[in-house]
Symmetry: C2
Subunit: 330 residues, 2 copies
């Protein structure tokens, strides 16, 4: 069995910088036509100057592949002219509630302070991408944040808001309640629950933020993805860390999945007789929601088993060593 | 400030075997007057012969300290004469629902099969110690098992049943409902929640089974321990693994706390103005519940800060490198 995907897009991607960028960027660029590149470097990408530098870096590291880097700015209080100037070089602005995820220590603490910038983004039609977690108990952070999603969605009805890497039924439910709320979902949150992280042996390579939740949450995400709900998009949130940062006393958050995301999804969608929805989940929905037209790039998959590599350079992917039933056509 | 504890007991302890036994046994024997030694070796301690061998091993490894090893048998279907013979050498029989915790693959799968042995234990007044987790979702396993605790407690009203290392409010609630239900509580479950395991960086050295639960569960455990509820006993569930089994791709379950449990508890109980209850929690309750009289052994603590060692031989303790405000008197 074969499957041709047209211009698959990774709508949430961490490419890092320097050696790590050079290591991981080709692994995304080979199999995707584009990706939304997260701005949480140290220091973050929060000026036009850094944005243009980073975009050039990503372009350099993904060459010669056909791969469009959809850049993002790290949220801060921007002026209208800053946003206006940035607009043609970004797909959106990424908001991290402070200190909640890797390298987001410079993020926003008081949501009332962000309203002027959100108004301008609404006026300029720049989407807002949100890491939606409070600083509460780890299993409740996203559900607690849903209150803030609702607040933002009703206060800025003209602002497209993307709930990034959602993990709960509570977030899925909001999609049908607010016209301007959208979401990305990762492959790993479709395939795992907290049981896979700490239910047997503890698996640092499935540890990420937001953490995988309960089976009923995973089922709600699955239902949305497998039906290719018109407001959801695939974003891997692929977040590489060197092995020594993962298998250690204090393991960094992040699952590395970019080079295997599409075969994982082909296997999952086929198992649920939903292969005909995969194109929408990995590309068409995103094109419509973000109003983008990536260059045509056909990525061909085949139902032929592969063993997920033990590592890509120094980075251990999710499910390293497992056999899955789909792979890329050679 | 000083504190003298009389014959503190660790009512749930993993001493392992061979080199690991030699490494950890003195660390318990130095600071406790005795401990309930778990039988989950490979193969398990499930015959008189292995029991006597293991008891001799533990005695050898804890010499010359004053330390009484309260031995346990690994649950299986025993004959009356086996139990009668074992009786004078054990404090109880430990039941592991199959495959749920480290080295418990030989445990019991169908609870209806265990009733004949439980009847004999009731007749012989041998306590039943239970690792109470179903094979459900990791955050629900103990709460789901409470149904089985209730079943056992009502079916065998003359059998003392110890709910080991409880982690939930649901289990605490059962203490007041069934006269024959008792519990051990670990220091780490009084001091941590799932947030400490996976809420920030992932911490393999706080990963154990049952996993630390929600803040409201921790609060219920704290209330029971700080009031020295007459049916609760301190058991560290100290469970050493070499560092390479913890900081790895698949991290083994177990928190190593034996050599620091008493200073940790002194700090905790003092913070809550409950130092006067610590003697009951770490010794008197256990003596009354199990009807044991350990040899007198005074263990003196002092309010003087200590840094928890980075490791004890190859074993990393909980909170390695943290400063706590109490220590053992030199």
């Amino acid at each position: 069995m074969n499957l041709a995907l047209h211009s698959p897009l990774d709508m949430h991607l961490h490419l890092r910088q320097d050696e790590m960028l050079d290591a991981v960027a080709p692994l995304s660029a080979k199999y995707f036509a584009g990706g939304v590149v997260m701005p949480n470097l140290i220091p973050p990408i929060n000026s036009i100057e850094r944005l243009l530098w980073y975009k050039a870096e990503v372009k350099r590291a993904t060459a010669p592949y056909v791969f469009e880097p959809y850049m993002t700015l790290f949220f801060r209080s921007y002026t209208f002219s800053e946003l206006e100037e940035a607009r043609r070089n970004i797909i959106g602005v990424k908001l991290y509630p402070s200190g909640i995820t890797t390298n987001s220590e410079g993020g926003v603490q008081d949501l009332s302070l962000i309203e002027p910038t959100l108004s301008m983004m609404q006026e300029l039609d720049i989407p807002l991408l949100v890491h939606g977690e409070t600083n509460g108990f780890v299993m409740d952070r996203e559900s607690e944040f849903c209150r803030i999603y609702q607040l933002l969605a009703s206060k800025f009805p003209g602002l497209r808001i993307v709930m990034e890497h959602i993990t709960t039924r509570d977030a899925v439910v909001l999609l049908d309640r607010y016209e301007n709320l959208f979401a990305t979902i990762t492959p790993h949150h479709l395939l795992t629950t907290l049981d896979d992280v700490v239910g047997g042996l503890m698996n640092p390579h499935l540890f990420c933020k937001p953490i995988a939740k309960r089976p009923e949450d995973r089922d709600a995400l699955l239902a949305a993805a497998l039906s290719a709900h018109s407001k959801v998009m695939m974003g891997t949130d692929s977040a590489p860390h060197p092995t020594n940062m993962k298998e250690s006393h204090g393991c960094a958050a992040g699952v590395f999945s970019a080079p295997i995301a599409l075969p994982l999804l082909a296997e999952l969608f086929e198992r649920h007789n939903a292969l005909d929805r995969l194109q929408a989940f990995v590309s068409s929905n995103a094109c419509r929601i973000y109003r983008i037209t990536p260059r045509e790039k056909e990525v061909r998959l085949i139902k032929q088993s592969m063993i997920i590599p033990a590592s890509y350079l120094s980075i251990v992917p999710m499910w390293a060593g497992y056999e899955i039933s789909w792979s890329f056509e050679a």
